[in-house]
Chain length 561, copies 2
Amino acid sequence: MDRQKQIAAAQEKVLPELVLKNAKIVNVFTGEILSGDVAITDGYIVGVGRYRGQTERDVDGRYIVPGFVDAHLHIESSMVMPDVYAMEALRHGTTTIITDPHEIVNVSGAEALRDILHAAACSPLNYYVMLPSCVPATPFEHAGAVMTAADLLHFKENSHVLGLGEMMNAVGVINGDPVVLDKLAAFDDKIIDGHAPGLTGHALQAYVGSGILTDHESVTFEEVLEKLRCGMAVLVREGSASRNLEAIVKGLVDRKLYSSRLAFCTDDKHLADIRREGTVSSNIRQAIALGMPPIEAIRMATINAAQIYRLPHIGAVACGYRADIVVLDDLDTVKIHEVYKDGAAMSAMKMPEPMHYSEKLMNSVHIAPLSEETFVIPPQKEYDVIGLVPHQILTEKIHMTQEELNAGLQDGTVCKIAVIERHHATGCHACAYLKGYGLRKGAVGTTVAHDSHNIIVVGTNDADMRAAVEELVHIKGGYTIVSDGAVVDSLPLPLGGLMSALPAEEFIPRLDAIIRKAYAVGVKENIDPFITLSFTALPVLPAIRITDQGLFDAENFRFLT
Amino acid sequence: MDRQKQIAAAQEKVLPELVLKNAKIVNVFTGEILSGDVAITDGYIVGVGRYRGQTERDVDGRYIVPGFVDAHLHIESSMVMPDVYAMEALRHGTTTIITDPHEIVNVSGAEALRDILHAAACSPLNYYVMLPSCVPATPFEHAGAVMTAADLLHFKENSHVLGLGEMMNAVGVINGDPVVLDKLAAFDDKIIDGHAPGLTGHALQAYVGSGILTDHESVTFEEVLEKLRCGMAVLVREGSASRNLEAIVKGLVDRKLYSSRLAFCTDDKHLADIRREGTVSSNIRQAIALGMPPIEAIRMATINAAQIYRLPHIGAVACGYRADIVVLDDLDTVKIHEVYKDGAAMSAMKMPEPMHYSEKLMNSVHIAPLSEETFVIPPQKEYDVIGLVPHQILTEKIHMTQEELNAGLQDGTVCKIAVIERHHATGCHACAYLKGYGLRKGAVGTTVAHDSHNIIVVGTNDADMRAAVEELVHIKGGYTIVSDGAVVDSLPLPLGGLMSALPAEEFIPRLDAIIRKAYAVGVKENIDPFITLSFTALPVLPAIRITDQGLFDAENFRFLT
């Protein structure tokens, strides 16, 4: 901010560059709606009141609200690159994002962080980064990198870094694991995000008392209330998979509890969902539809998030704030008329030049040579089988005899699943049986595999599984479907094996197409062919998983093979 | 905070050191009152809920609220040293103070700041410092020091420093004075306190847009509302002289506007007033008496202030927060039962050892030799006379002919007033006439003289004025009354000529005594003998003042002599 320009324009000593005239301005500080103009110079709001400007634009009595803040998200879940994500988010009124590049850093470590921080600096958004606290996410798998407290400290002073990303290792915290506490101590003077699903009572007190500020994993109002009482800031999540908003907002509305410690986030949201319903704009709309006063919903989406994350010039339409502004047709449907970022109209904004990412990120799939043994499962008396649950990412542990297994393989209810380490070509791999995926022929593979992002491949036969893995190596990561030795379809995700280089308009139909083709080779309709698959390797989710180190009992935290 | 201890005690793996049992706990986050215990270890709250402890203290259903935060004050106004002030504030539930050592730094510059920051580090309070932005306060007087942006930057990283103190030079800000903007730029990433009495419209937009966050000078609700709308944090002041709370709180209550951007402060409060009515505790009580919901008043006095000043472990009774706790008998009269600072009961706390201040601060009165000329006012056709206004610190400009003057001198309505530079023995001095003080004999002098704290002496004759000045030099600063060449009474204020070294119990009667004696030598009852005097040299207050550089027209900003 140039103070001289700011001060001169505020007093019309030099006319403000742009004035949005005749607005109903939502004041997030007082909760009022005030008629007036918004004067902008040099990307900042210089005054709110009555103003003349070098350029004047009449908003015809529409509402002006601050640009929205998405308080917690992983861009990787959109499956497009940060610049594509940014333009998409901007269209929907989101001007500030607080991201945790947990996935890509699990692939490429410090190099990924450097690239992401460069992307943040180049972004049209206010793009903030929480440094991933859990790389690797667990000791039960091989990720692409290990990030210690010392490794993270190298990035702490970057102006885009707000603190430490979601501390998923709640067990480590409440047991006082020194490695975990080291990371917390290193970010004592910054924000530390939490991840505390269902944590309650004394354990929650310990978790919060260790210095963790936020949580975005609450699913009930009661959970939110207990966390708020502890002093946590609660981010109400509504993403593609985790839709927690309704239960929480209903409780807030019933209790008329509108705390400044509540904000909105999307966490994981796919691009097609964003295109259809927006990012935080969708949270706002749903909250209002559930009876939350519109100004409270807008506060949650703006100033509350900015204050929780200590962002001083963000989240309000007031002098000295960034001219990040959303013009709305009304406050009920929150229909967006125009978005201004740093005073520039989104409708006139061009797609930024694609960023250049480093070789390590764009070439992240490295496997040891496959062998005849890779997909072989030795005969056993009884088999532990991963059972998928329709519409859920939870799994169930199933026991099968050889006969049951054979029957399942025959009727297509059971197929093979393999996880192959793909970062450092260690050759680590594991293979097991999967029930409920429904593949009738061929193989389906992905390099998106939470949280270590090794290769997961599912197949009815070893040859197609092998061909699918080879295709994933060939396209440098992505999704693939192989049948009878031929590639049915592939969606390359070259950035870390997680994100596409395509623009949004091309990506969405390509993703739709490969999903349709997965159903065509037999994947059951109540299973998301790629997303469900990508969670089968996450050892922190119940009940049974598979990592590159073996079949894993996620309830007793021990390997089964 | 020791995380291992915190985490262990939160889960009773090691019993908390102290548990306050059976309390009604005010939760400032949710606005609830919850029954439970508060567990404390190592000076921090480790848990709220049901707890057993190594020591348990039953609070018998009393209310537990966070220790109070006084969001803006000048300790100098109490006229006692910081350690005496601290113990007095603690008794009244104030556990955190945000101070601006504006007065003492005007006397002794960087050396005063060093001493004050040392006092802050030794204090039982959470003692924060805003670095004085206006030293000297104006170019129309000689202060003891000049503090540039570069001088202030030396202290910026001290852990007790939160930012830049009240920017009184509003005119400099809105005119874009580069020296002023340099100071604002230097504290861009910290808090900048404002001082914007009556500032409104585009000028206020410019002032706030320059990066100034707070204001404590509002006297009407409308003024508060405009400042809140601009994004300012408003500190509602109730001090010894400026009593702004009633008008503002009435407006807040009428409009039900309870913003998280409102806090309480005392600004300037004398020790006797503190002893009688408390510090922030008095603001809370008055607000509740005016109809503010008790929990809102407590929020203003605790978490709101902590959040405005970005103090992460202060302002709430919750895990991870400092165990700064006030136990109240009830929420209506806010009667204090006990105060805990860092988990230690105030009632068992000992007065800290007096701190050693540097020679420069304890020996701050240095004048050039007085001469026959010092108190001579050359004859003029007409005289500009300073007219005191009963019960106010404003003055009025009075014109007097020689005849009127002589009559006034005769009947005791007019006397002489002189200001003598006392920091660097420059010999700068000025003398004029003062109407309305009411002295019948002798002289009254003080080294407390806002904001440059030169010597002010008022007298009916030159000999007693001279004797008073010499006495002030002799006692190294303070208050004095001289009559017929003899000292009637003196109150030494050796710390910078501003603060007494006496404990509270001795100081209050000594101050009472000298004030009584001032009335006995004729000071009018509607004038505060020393405080009113100490403002006659403040050139920013209308209408007419006197500095060491001459009689000053404070409405047209020019010297009259």
